[in-house]
Symmetry: C2
Subunit: 210 residues, 2 copies
């Protein structure tokens, strides 16, 4: 294996995931992954720029950063690229007024968004809020639109919590896609535009990042 200095030649910035990299999520925010607090601290002391790129869509950035800081991580809200604020930019740019099928924990991220008379649906990892009634409401909103737009915060199949495997937003997005005969727009990893926006915010070109 090449030495670190060699492997990092030309690298100016590092994009880090959060869940499964810094911590394992679960009840009460989960637990830090052994060694990750110190590893992040070392990165921060280095010459490298550091940014976090997450698909977290159950918690606001503020709540997520609060939890991580409580665990000892050196992280601030403006270092985090998350799908909800990225979606808000898109909604404003395109004049979209969403019906929100989301977890209450992330609702504050959409506080500045006009949700009257919806002309699109935004779906996130709603967890227990993925009731039949809520899914059906989102479905009916889409079916009433001439040009149904469905924006999905990520397309994960499932994730692991300390209590076991949990269905993620991608599964429910597939359900709406099939029922309506449409294709969702994904905001979050692995969409290339999402990584690109994180790099821009870090001020680093893609070939300079790890």
């Amino acid at each position: 294996m090449a030495a670190w200095s060699e492997r990092l030649a030309g690298v100016r910035g590092v994009l880090l995931d959060i869940s499964g990299v810094l911590h394992d999520s679960g009840e009460g925010g989960g637990v830090p992954i052994p060694g990750s607090v110190e590893a992040l601290a070392r990165l921060k002391r280095s010459q490298l720029k550091v940014r976090f790129c997450t698909n977290e869509s159950q918690k606001s950035r503020g709540d997520l950063v609060g939890l991580l800081r409580h665990m000892g991580f050196d992280i601030s809200e403006d270092e985090v690229t998350a799908p909800a604020p990225a979606t808000c930019l898109i909604l404003k740019e395109r004049g979209l007024r969403p019906h929100l099928l989301i977890h209450d924990g992330i609702r504050s991220e959409f506080a500045q968004i006009d949700t009257s008379n919806p002309n699109c649906v935004v779906i996130a990892d709603a967890g227990e809020s993925f009731s039949y009634q809520n899914m059906n409401k989102a479905f009916q909103v889409l079916m009433e639109l001439d040009n149904p737009v469905l924006i999905s915060l990520g397309k994960g199949r499932y994730y692991k919590e300390t209590s076991g495997l949990m269905l993620d937003v991608g599964a429910y997005t597939k359900a709406l896609e099939y029922a309506c005969g449409i294709k969702a727009e994904v905001v979050g990893k692995p969409a290339p535009g999402y990584f690109q926006s994180a790099l821009q915010e870090m001020g680093v070109e893609s070939h300079e990042a790890q």
Copy 2:
């Protein structure tokens, strides 16, 4: 248009759908479609064999037939091909013990089926029972199997009730297929084997049926 006698040359039997053909479903069982009670009575008086082929998966055959008879239709339970009893035959043949993600209204159809230590999942139009918790449980059962088998009672996208459009089983089946990376086996229309079993029960070959 050719005369009826010409169009029916060689036809010995008629397969009829139920929902949307005999009645529109909805609160309290829905309402008969105008003219359908009399049309069925005429068919029954003719030389043609008549059988009903439905994807109904919220009500047992007994409950469904009871509702239809109450509306004035000449129909009996043993004239109905429905996905739940067809699924029970498959489960018994293959030694499958299902975890049932179904509506309570159809649970009686599975009374004779061993559901201990499940080695497959059966999904039907569960309606309000499509909670996150119930979907996640079915997902976890599938993920714990070496060879996950998912049997879906139909693959409908949605259906119309008197109160509006409702998400059907197909949407939720897609969610589980995507999350688990598997393909469901469909018991119900439009699976050719399902029509075939209805024809066999009627004692008519496919070229002799309408």
